[in-house]
């Protein structure tokens, strides 16, 4: 067992398929691959929808479908310990400017619950996955920003630009109050330049630290000087530009930026230096490559070898530049390509905790409380959020400004999600959702319905096809016949009397339909299915997508 996963990945033959449009087989397997990568879990009704389309229509649907902005988060949180005097229950809190320690804490929770709710209830479009992608890219932490309104506005910004223009997004992020607070932009003045944002703008947000990036420490300083003057108006929680804070001197950049000098602008015009700065940075081809590599790792696979760099990243980055940094054409080209659908990549990504927890909720089509019962609804959403947080992906609070290590840490990348602490927690969550569920007072319960799930299969009364279909719906790879036999005899039928027989199961399943009041039979069938699903979700295959 002296295997080395990284070495092995490096010795696998490169995938040579390129960006040409995929026109191959279009079965539930290919649709699942597309949906698991682009939404949170592949939901049955979305699979059915996409099966009726061609591959390129399905990708176009994911990328181009227009969606209204969601209704804002609300007060679900009054209880015997605290009442938000200003905001009635069920009403949104985003229009008030009054903040204190108590209402801020509750509203921040409301924001996180609301956000996870948007993921659970997402449409089959790329928007919510891209919101999370940008959250990881332009990482901020609620514990540092610590104001629910600025955090909400930031989240809206990510959603507005999720599939928009990247250059405009960087400009908006630069002036975003949440980011001004998080990376000290609001404290960046000509008297006391603060380099924090000027550095991360280059290192993490645009040119990156890849082989083609050679900006210098002086460029960090010069960028910081360009960006002096933006600050947060804490009366309105909006950002402002204060000409008095702006350094009106000229800013000189290194040879990496072709020795550009950004001429100092006076008065309110100082704000326009941001455009000068972004124009200079976006002149660098490395920006397009850096972002395309990150998108590639998000949607396809963590290893970018020379073949992929040449066949995929380089032309994709060209598309990005040709379209003035619009995101949609890049995603449409990548996700619609032969490369993306290449069988080599099926199941090659380890699910993030959000993919794992939210994907589970969606793939089993769990029934969460309706809008009318928003108190239980938010509380259940927050339980899912807290679960993912325990598995090391706390939305709103990545570990630091670089985002989650699983998206950048060489050589492990998504393996970083899995360790001796988090893997058992994943198993505990799937066990919990199948055996007890999320329980609230008044018999509100969010739980997997294994019988309902099995009913959607072609012939659940036949144990072999049941197991086949269950494996196919939960995994991106098949199991061997030996394993399936074990699942049948060792897991599904282990409790049956005498020598297990396929017929016994068929009869029990049939009885469920014929005699729905036979509680013993119902429990028997339900428990058998629970054991099967539990086992399938505990096997490591379930961690892959």
């Amino acid at each position: 067992m002296s295997l080395n996963p990284n070495q092995k990945e490096n010795t696998l033959p490169p995938v040579t398929s390129g960006l040409k449009k995929y026109r191959g087989q279009w079965s539930a397997t290919e649709v699942r691959h597309l949906l698991k990568r682009t939404t949170f879990g592949a939901k049955q009704q979305d699979i059915n929808l996409f099966l009726k389309m061609s591959p390129s229509k399905a990708v176009a649907y994911l990328v181009n479908t227009e969606e209204p902005m969601p209704a804002p988060p609300i007060n679900y949180y009054n209880d015997d310990k605290y009442t938000d005097e200003e905001i009635p229950m069920g009403q949104t809190w985003i229009n008030t400017l009054k903040y204190n320690g108590m209402n801020n804490g509750r509203r921040k929770n409301s924001l996180k619950g609301w956000w996870i709710g948007l993921m659970i209830n997402q449409q089959p479009t790329l928007r919510e996955k891209m919101v999370l992608f940008w959250h990881n890219h332009f990482a901020t932490e609620t514990r540092t920003v610590d104001n629910a309104l600025m955090l909400y506005k930031h989240n809206v910004l990510l959603r507005v630009f999720a599939l928009g223009n990247f250059k405009e997004m960087v400009k908006a992020i630069t002036k975003d109050p949440c980011m001004l607070r998080y990376l000290n932009g609001t404290a960046n003045t000509k008297k006391a330049p603060d380099e924090n944002y000027g550095r991360e703008l280059q290192e993490l947000f645009t040119v990156g630290k890849g082989p083609g990036s050679h900006y210098t420490e002086d460029d960090v300083k010069a960028a910081a000087h360009v960006l002096t003057g933006f600050y947060i108006d804490y009366k309105t929680f909006n950002s402002q530009f204060g000409p008095g804070r702006h350094d009106e001197g000229d800013k000189k950049f290194s040879s990496f930026y072709k020795n550009t000098v950004i001429t100092g602008r006076k008065g309110p015009d100082g704000e326009k230096e941001l455009d000068d700065l972004l124009n200079m940075i976006f002149e660098q081809e490395e920006v397009s490559k850096f972002i395309c590599r990150k998108l590639y790792r998000q949607f396809v696979y963590h290893v970018i070898d020379d073949t992929t760099e040449k066949n995929i990243i380089t032309p994709l980055a060209k598309t990005f530049r040709k379209n003035n940094y619009e995101i949609k054409p890049v995603l449409e080209e990548l996700l619609g390509s032969k490369h993306f659908f290449d069988v080599a990549f099926r199941g090659s990504i380890i699910k993030s905790p959000i993919d794992f927890a939210v994907g589970l909720c969606r793939e089993y089509d769990l029934g969460f409380p309706p809008d009318s019962n928003y108190v239980d609804q938010y509380n259940c959403w927050l339980q899912v959020q807290g679960t993912a947080a325990n598995m090391q992906q706390n939305i709103g609070d990545p570990p630091n400004v670089a985002g989650w290590p699983a998206y950048y840490q060489v050589p492990d990348f998504d393996k970083m999600w899995i360790n001796s602490d988090t893997l058992p927690k994943r198993n505990q969550f799937s066990d919990r959702m199948i055996f007890s569920g999320i329980v609230r007072p008044q018999q509100v319960k969010v739980q997997i319905d294994p019988v309902g799930h099995a009913k959607q299969f072609s012939d659940p009364g036949n144990p072999d096809t049941l197991i086949n279909d269950a494996v196919q719906s939960l995994y991106m790879m098949d199991l061997s016949d030996k394993d399936k036999e074990y699942l049948k005899s060792g897991v599904l039928l282990s409790g049956l009397q005498g020598k297990m027989s396929d017929h016994y199961w068929t009869q029990a399943w049939q009885n469920l339909a014929d005699k729905p009041d036979d509680v013993a039979n119902r429990n028997n069938v339900t428990n058998k299915l629970k054991n099967l699903y539990k086992y399938l979700m505990n096997l490591p295959q379930y961690q892959l997508m």
Binding site: L3, N6, S420, S480, Y535, P540
Partner: protein, 427 residues
Amino acid sequence: MKRRDFLRNTVAGVAIPYFLNGYAVKGMSANPFMRAASKYMGEDKVLVLIQLSGGNDGLNTVIPLDQYSAYTAARSNIAIPEDKALKLNGIEGVGLHPAMTEMQQLFNDGKLGIVQAVSYPKPNFSHFRATDIWMTGSDADKIISTGWAGRYLDDVFPNFPAEYPNSKMPDPLAVQIGSVVSTTFQGPAFTMGLAISNPSSFYNLLEGKVNVDSNTRWGAQLDYLEVVATKTDQYANVIKQAALKVKQQSPKYPAPGKNPLADQLKIVARLVAGGLKTKVYMVSTGSFDTHSKQTDTADNTVGVHANLLKRVSEAIGVFMDDLQYLQCADRVMGMTFSEFGRRIKSNASGGTDHGAAAPVFYFGNGVKAKVHGTNPVLPASASVNDNVQMQHDFRALYAGILQEWFTLDQKDVSNVLNGQFQPLQMV
């Protein structure tokens, strides 16, 4: 063990010769006998790494009192008043931040040392890159994907994880408190570290009964998952057993949640005392990235940075107390590190920007309590670009630990560190 019984009754801070297999050994320092012994000679020795993430402001941690006017000139808005700095017995001109009373006590008791101005040539000012450099032990301009402790463990315990656990090493090689294993423990193929947040939460994983197609990308991912699943299962038990052996710990710990670093070190003490042979533990605390308002405007001895240092000092103090209480203090050596120090000159936001060299603390019953190096030389009027100059390469500290504490052969030390570094005499 006789040696432990003996040392438990000795006066702390006084190096007393004792006998090991008939040979007189002074303190914990290595001698030819120990070097000649196997790599397992340092078998029961444990290293605890404490990461101060964010870049600790060294000049307000170890204060150069001998250049007090240059110090205040450079950072009048955050300077610690001269009379508030904590004095160290027998050391002139060096003061500790007033929040670090426990560490002052440890120094005066002979259980804590300070290394001035630790860094490396061409220091990097990016948190992530600098952290990687510290954790991998690489040159500033080289990329290494393995961690320095990971390479050490790979050297001493070859063929991990295939041949482990075994009778010689039944326990995890390294333990990270928290859920993400640090790059420090990254070995050539696998991470050599095990993450635990709470030993009692360990969970029995079932064995994967599957045939893996190893020639695919998903197969490679699956192999990794299976290995983690198996390891989790095997080590969960030994960790639980070890934890259960310790019924009581020092009553001096702050209430759970009050000091997260103390909470982490409490688990470490429990596992060490419970008999785990684990060589390296890592804990972390933050955030030391004090760009603004690192002190209270009214009183520079309190505020954000003071609270951070208080947390570190209190945690190390109570941890040492607990190790003594659990009678395993002689086995443990600890060391702090941070990805960089901060600029000599403070900024106008009452904070400090990313800098270069900074002091490192190390502690334990067996350490040499001294100050290595001199105070950083501060310019009379520091500019925004002035940095603390390096006096010690951080890998000299690693070399000292590997060679003197873990008694690793000199040749192996060079291999682990990818080069020759004069071991710093810390033990």
